[in-house]
Amino acid sequence: MSLKNKLHQLKLKYKDKKMAPAFNALHTFLYLPNETTHSGGHVRAADDLKRTMNTVILALVPCLLFGIFNAGYQHYSAINGFPADFSLFEHFINWENFVLGAWTVLPLVIVSYGVGLAVEFLFAVIKGHEVEEGYLVTGMLVPLIVPIDIPLWMLAVAVVFGVVIGKEVFGGTGMNILNPALTIRAFLFFAYPTWMSGDKVWVHEAVERAGTADAISGETILGTLAQSNPVQFSISDMFYGYIPGSVGETSTLLILIGAAILIFTKVASWRIILSGFVGAALMGLLFNGVVDAGWISESSKFYGLMSTPFWQHLIIGSIAFGVVFMATDPVSGSQTNKGKWIYGFLIGFISILIRVFNPAYPEGVFLAILLMNVFAPTIDHYVVQGNIKKRMKRLKLKTA
C-alpha cells in the first residue's frame, strides 16, 4: 500500500476523533486528497495557501544556502584572516565552509520547524480545527534572522512564545496582529540580549573564544559604524553578502533575487518593497544632509552611522531582508494599495532612524516592522475612510 493510501486509511479511521487534524494535515500536505466536494460551483485555482507559502520558501532557499556557506566562511576568515584575492569557488563555496555551516545552521532550521509545527499540531488537535500552513514560512524565516550561535533551547522557548502568544491566542494563521517570526526575534532580543547583540555573537565560536589567545571578532558592519570605527569590508562584499550578520540576511543580491521571485509570482507586494527602500534611502539622505550641513561634529557618537552614504544603508544590516520578506507578510501588513505605500515607507524610514539613534543595538528593522504591524489596520482604516469621503463628495456634486 502506498503512503498516500495509508494516510487516507488513517484519516478515515480517525475521522471525527481528536487526532483527525494531524492526519489530515499530513495527507493534504503531501498529496491531493482522495475526495472531492459534491455540491456548489468551484473556482479552480492553483494559488492556494500552500502554494503561496511554498513560493516564499523557495525564494528564501538561496538566502539559506548562502547563509550556510557564509557561516563557514566568516568563521574560518575570522581565524585565518580574510583572503586577499577572493575567488568565489576557492574561498567561499567549498566543502569546509559547507560542513561547518550545515553543522551550525541546520540545527536551527530543525528546531524551528520541529518546535513550531509541534505547537501548531497541538493547537489544531485541542481546538479541533485543521492544521494551518502559516508556520511553514515562519519556520524558515526564524533560523535566517537569528545569530549563528544562539543556543537551541533559547530558540525553542522563543518559538513556543512566538507561535502561542504571537499567533494562536489571536485565532491562528491569518488573525495575528504581529509577524510571528519577528515576535520570536523580539522575544529573543529582549529575553537573552547577550546572545542577540554585541560584537561576539555573529561569527561561530566567537563567544567561546572571547578572552582566550584564539579570540576572534564577530562585529557586524553596523556595530563597527556605531562606534565610528573604519569598516574593513568593501562595498561589493556588502552587496554580495560576505559579511558577518544574522544567518541569512547578509546577501543583498540573493534577497533581491528572492524579491524578484515574490514580485513575479505576485506573492509579495512590490509597493511595500519599493516604498520600504525609498523610505530608508530618504532617512539616510536626511542624515547625510545633517552631516553635510555641519550640524553634527565628528566626535558625536552618531557620526559614524549618520555619515554613512544613504545607499549603503540599504545593503548593510538586515533592512533588505526585513523589507522584502518580513514587511510583505500579507496578514500583518497593510491591505489597501495606498496603505501599502505608507506602511512600507514608514518601515524604511523608522528602521534607519532606530538604526542611527539606538545606542544599545544598531539595528532597528525588526522593531520598525513590528511597530508598523500594529499601525497597519489604522492606516487601512483611514485609507478606506478617505475613499468613502471622496466618493460621497463626488456623489453630492453629481446630484447637486
Binding site: I165, F187, F190, A191, W195
Partner: protein
C-alpha cells in the same frame, strides 16, 4: 445601625450570622470567580509595576488589604451622611489618609522595601479597585459586609500579584524572595551549569501583562461560565 434604613436590611441583619454563606461568598468570590484583576480587569497598572519580585508584591498585597478593608468600613459607616455630589472627594480623603499611614509605617519599619516600592505605595490612592469597591459596594452596604468585601477583593488582587511575581522572579532573576533557587548565574552552579540563562524579558513590564493574560486564559478555559458571549 438601627436608624440606617427602614428597608429589609434592618429586619434581616440581626438574624444573619457573622459568617453566613452569603458573607463568606463576599470574601471568597473575589479570590477566583470574580477576581478584580482577571475578571474585572482593575488595578492592572500596579500589577505591572511591582511584580518583578515577590517581596514588594507581598508588601503591596498586605498594604492594599489594609487600605481597602478599613476604607470600606469607614465609607460604609459614613454612607448615609456623604452628599452624593462630593462623594468622590470624601472617598479620596479616606484612601489618602489610610495610604499615608501605610507609607509612614513602611518608612519607619521597612525602609529598604519602601524605597523599592517608591511611588507605588502612594499610588494605591489611584488604584481602581479601591474606588471601585467604595462606589460599588461600601456605599450601599453595612460595615461588616463592606469589610469582608474589601478584604476579599484586596486578597484577590494580592493573590494575583503574588502568582505573577512568583513566575516573574523565578524565570526573570532565577530567585525567590532573593534566594538563588536555580543556582548561581555567575559561578555557573545548579541549572546554570547546563547553559540555562535568566529570561531578561520577564523582568520587563510587557511580560507582566502577558503573564496576567495567560492566567486569564487558563482561568477561563477551566471555568467556561466566565467566557462572555458575543
Amino acid at each position: 445601625m438601627a436608624e440606617v434604613t427602614t428597608e429589609e436590611v434592618k429586619v434581616k441583619e440581626p438574624k444573619e450570622p457573622l459568617f453566613s454563606k452569603k458573607n463568606k461568598k463576599l470574601l471568597t468570590d473575589p479570590l477566583a470567580d470574580n477576581n478584580p484583576i482577571t475578571i474585572q480587569v482593575l488595578g492592572i497598572c500596579s500589577a505591572l509595576a511591582i511584580t518583578a519580585q515577590l517581596k514588594p508584591s507581598i508588601v503591596m498585597a498586605i498594604s492594599v488589604v489594609f487600605v481597602l478593608g478599613i476604607g470600606n468600613v469607614v465609607i460604609s459607616l459614613m454612607r448615609n451622611v456623604i452628599p452624593s455630589k462630593i462623594r468622590i472627594i470624601v472617598q479620596l480623603v479616606v484612601v489618602a489618609a489610610l495610604v499615608i499611614i501605610v507609607d509612614q509605617v513602611l518608612k519607619a519599619f521597612a525602609y529598604e522595601l519602601s524605597k523599592q516600592l517608591s511611588v507605588f505605595i502612594g499610588l494605591i490612592i489611584t488604584n481602581c479597585i479601591i474606588m471601585g469597591r467604595f462606589e460599588a459596594f461600601a456605599l450601599g452596604n453595612g460595615p461588616w459586609k463592606s469589610f469582608l468585601d474589601g478584604v476579599g477583593n484586596a486578597a484577590g488582587y494580592g493573590l494575583l500579584l503574588i502568582i505573577v511575581a512568583f513566575f516573574r522572579e523565578l524565570l526573570g532573576s532565577g530567585t525567590l524572595f532573593g534566594f538563588k533557587v536555580l543556582g548561581d548565574p555567575i559561578e555557573k552552579t545548579g541549572l546554570y551549569a547546563f547553559g540555562y540563562e535568566n529570561n531578561g524579558f520577564m523582568v520587563l513590564a510587557p511580560m507582566a501583562l502577558i503573564t496576567v493574560g495567560i492566567i486569564i486564559w487558563v482561568q477561563r478555559s477551566k471555568n467556561k461560565a466566565l467566557i462572555e458571549d458575543h
